[in-house]
């Protein structure tokens, strides 16, 4: 994972609430054994018509959305499954951050481990973003802020350790492995064994 410090982009907006992981990437695309190429399957049943052509009404297919790296979504984005394919598909497609009023726990964890920035904002800021698709926003990971075009800045919550890992592109397995002695000690001294 490479470090993420700043994200500047116009937004693409999916206003629907509770966009679940099955909509982000349907289960039939999970038979892969690699992490590559998942972007092709992103929002597949929403992006394409039954005949395989682009669905012109889906916001990602709007020519204006091309190159946008920030997705603004309705409340409770990413609910459902633990499939890490969901944030990986968003990243592979080109997204770097998701803005919503709530982001589901497992999706959030998976996003952070892959360098996709989960940005939870207040309802007022969210409303403005939903109403202004294509707005240019600036996300500063260090300050944990998102700046709107008029200069208004909103802070978003992010765990200090997760932020550090995002900024530096840290592999958390490496961090965990620094504790191997403590883990062995725990195994040897616990009062019962599983």
């Amino acid at each position: 994972m490479t470090g993420v410090r700043h994200i500047s982009s116009r937004t693409v907006v999916l206003p629907t609430k509770d966009i679940d992981t099955d909509q982000i990437i349907a289960a039939r695309f999970l038979t892969t054994t690699s992490r590559d190429g998942l972007g092709e399957s992103l929002f597949y049943d929403l992006r394409y018509r039954a005949d395989g052509g682009d669905n012109p009404e889906f916001p990602l297919n709007d020519p204006e959305a091309r190159g946008c790296t920030v997705l603004v979504a309705g409340n409770n984005f990413g609910c459902g499954s633990s499939r890490e394919h969901a944030p990986c598909a968003l990243l592979d497609y080109g997204f770097r951050a998701i803005i919503s009023t709530e982001i589901a726990d497992i999706f959030r964890n998976n996003a952070l481990k892959n360098g996709l920035v989960p940005v939870v904002v207040d309802t007022e800021t969210h409303r403005w973003l939903l109403d202004n698709p294509g707005a240019e926003v600036n996300i500063d990971v260090q300050d944990a802020t998102v700046a709107l075009p008029d200069g208004r800045k909103t802070r978003f919550p992010i765990d200090g350790f997760a932020k550090h890992c995002l900024l530096e592109g840290i592999d958390q397995l490496g961090f965990l492995r620094q504790h191997m002695d403590a883990i062995t000690n725990f195994e040897e001294n616990r009062p019962w064994t599983p």
Partner: protein
């Protein structure tokens, strides 16, 4: 010592390195269940970094998600759907072989859905931390374990270190008083809970289900309740272990044996929230007012009593979009909708008692013309037990299909799918758009409601057959 919740007791018992303002806790994992879909990329990381699996003895591998459930006389005849799924299954066998893991594969009498076989084997026990690359890992919380779903990166962390980096979640008490009326099951209860708190009502929290209505549930019903905790957004769901739990576990292959059993039970009896323990949030519910529940929209929170009119979402565009997808009208009960497919199975309702519940409705009756009904046991053991009781005969004579064990139509990635536009009454856990197949319209319900709907050819109140 200050009063603790059940969750806090299990959590603190597994902290290897305490959390600080700057770093999460290192949490020890007692049981890691793995399957073919969410592990291949994790094994690739181990291979790249030349790391072994730290505790093969605490790792339980099986195959369930992309495996076919078509009836076969020999597992050599299994027709896996698509080259990718076949490759994924093959890769799981290679990974387990290379890393020294004892795979519960095809032909093994214990193979089945991850969340069905853990309890069945007695590997799921009170006070354990249990994870799996599957969000319905919350199922194991029915035993007073702390169990939650993880992504593939974290699967790699557990394989390599037997630990996870975790921030301590908040606690939510859901207190269910009263007695459940006749004809109402655990599935109806959990659907009603999700309807009450919403699909994000549990976000950031571990739920503890408590109260008279919970402690009177049998283990399989408790598993159904905990299974769907994630559908309320919760990290996990737990129920304090009691005699019902111990009785279920006694004598199972991986349960403690002999003197170890008595020691374990003594320890397990301490696993309950202290009387004055504080929860971050509390919700109460009266079980005596419950009725059979069905979903009408595209998430499990869009749920009503089977005879109640579908609500009007006002100017909520997400609500309208869901009803348009489902082709459901506000103001009318769900019983007005004809059914094309009925699915009994999954980690939510694929256990023996679920199949018995469906068979009670099917006995001496026929699945309505034009309805396809699949009954899919959650494990090979459930299949064998059901067949020993003759349930397969009842199911087949009613005109339903009796399948091999697996996730089947819950997830639509193994060949079992609901056709485009068709309405399915399903005992699974998710009615998301496309979950059971492209354009599939899913109504979540209990096994009794699903079976009654199959017989009637439309969404039905199961109490008409009681």
């Amino acid at each position: 010592m200050s009063a603790s919740t059940l969750f806090e007791k299990v959590w603190s018992d597994h902290v290897v390195v305490a959390e600080t303002a700057d770093t999460p806790a290192v949490l020890y994992i007692d049981l890691h269940i793995i399957h073919e879909v969410t592990t291949p990329q994790a094994f690739s990381v181990l291979r790249e970094q030349e790391l072994p699996v730290r505790r093969p003895d605490l790792t339980l591998p099986t195959m369930d998600h992309s495996t076919p459930t078509t009836p076969v006389s020999s597992f050599k005849d299994l027709a896996v759907v698509g080259d990718d799924a076949a490759n994924q299954i093959r890769q799981m066998e290679i990974n387990c072989d290379e890393f020294g893991l004892d795979l519960i594969g095809f032909g093994n009498a214990h193979r089945g859905i991850v969340h069905v076989i853990g309890p069945e084997l007695g590997a799921t026990q009170p006070g354990k931390t249990i994870v799996c690359g599957d969000s319905h890992s919350s199922t194991h919380g029915a035993f007073g374990a702390l169990a939650f779903g993880i992504g593939t990166t974290e699967v790699g962390h557990v394989l390599a270190t037997q630990c996870l980096l975790q921030r301590r979640p908040k606690t939510l008490s859901i207190d269910v008083g009263g007695t459940m009326p006749e004809g109402v099951s655990a599935k109806d209860l959990i659907l009603a809970i999700i309807g009450k708190i919403g699909v994000d009502g549990g976000t950031g929290h571990v739920i503890e289900y408590r109260g008279e209505a919970i402690s009177s549930l049998d283990m399989e019903s408790r598993m159904t309740v905990c299974n769907m905790s994630i559908e309320a957004g919760a990290r996990a769901g737990m129920i304090a272990p009691d005699d019902t739990t111990f009785e279920y576990l006694h004598g199972r292959p991986r349960s403690p044996q002999g003197a170890d059993w008595d020691t374990a039970v003594e320890r397990w009896r301490g696993l309950r929230s202290d009387n004055d323990a504080q929860f971050d949030q509390t919700v109460t519910l009266d079980a005596s007012t419950l009725q059979p529940m069905v979903t009408f929209g595209t998430n499990p929170g869009m749920v009503i009593g089977v005879n109640d009119p579908v609500p009007d979402g006002g100017d909520d565009t997400s609500f309208r979009k869901a009803l348009d997808y489902m082709r459901i009208e506000s103001g009318k009960p769900m019983t007005e909708n004809a059914v094309d497919v009925v699915f009994i199975g999954s980690c939510t309702n694929g256990r023996l008692s679920d199949i018995e519940e469906a068979a009670r409705v099917l006995q001496g009756r026929k699945v309505a013309d034009g309805v396809r009904m699949l009954v899919v046991p959650g494990s090979q053991q459930v299949k064998n037990e059901a067949e020993a009781k003759g349930l397969d005969r009842i199911i087949l004579e009613a005109g339903a299909e009796w399948r091999e064990a697996g996730c089947s139509m819950c997830i639509g990635m193994n060949g079992d799918t609901v056709p485009q536009g068709k309405l399915s009454v399903s005992t699974s856990n998710r009615n998301f758009e496309g979950r059971q197949g492209v354009g599939a319209r899913t109504v979540l319900a209990s096994p009794a409601t699903a079976a009654a709907s199959a017989v009637q050819g439309r969404v039905s109140d199961p109490r008409i057959f009681s």
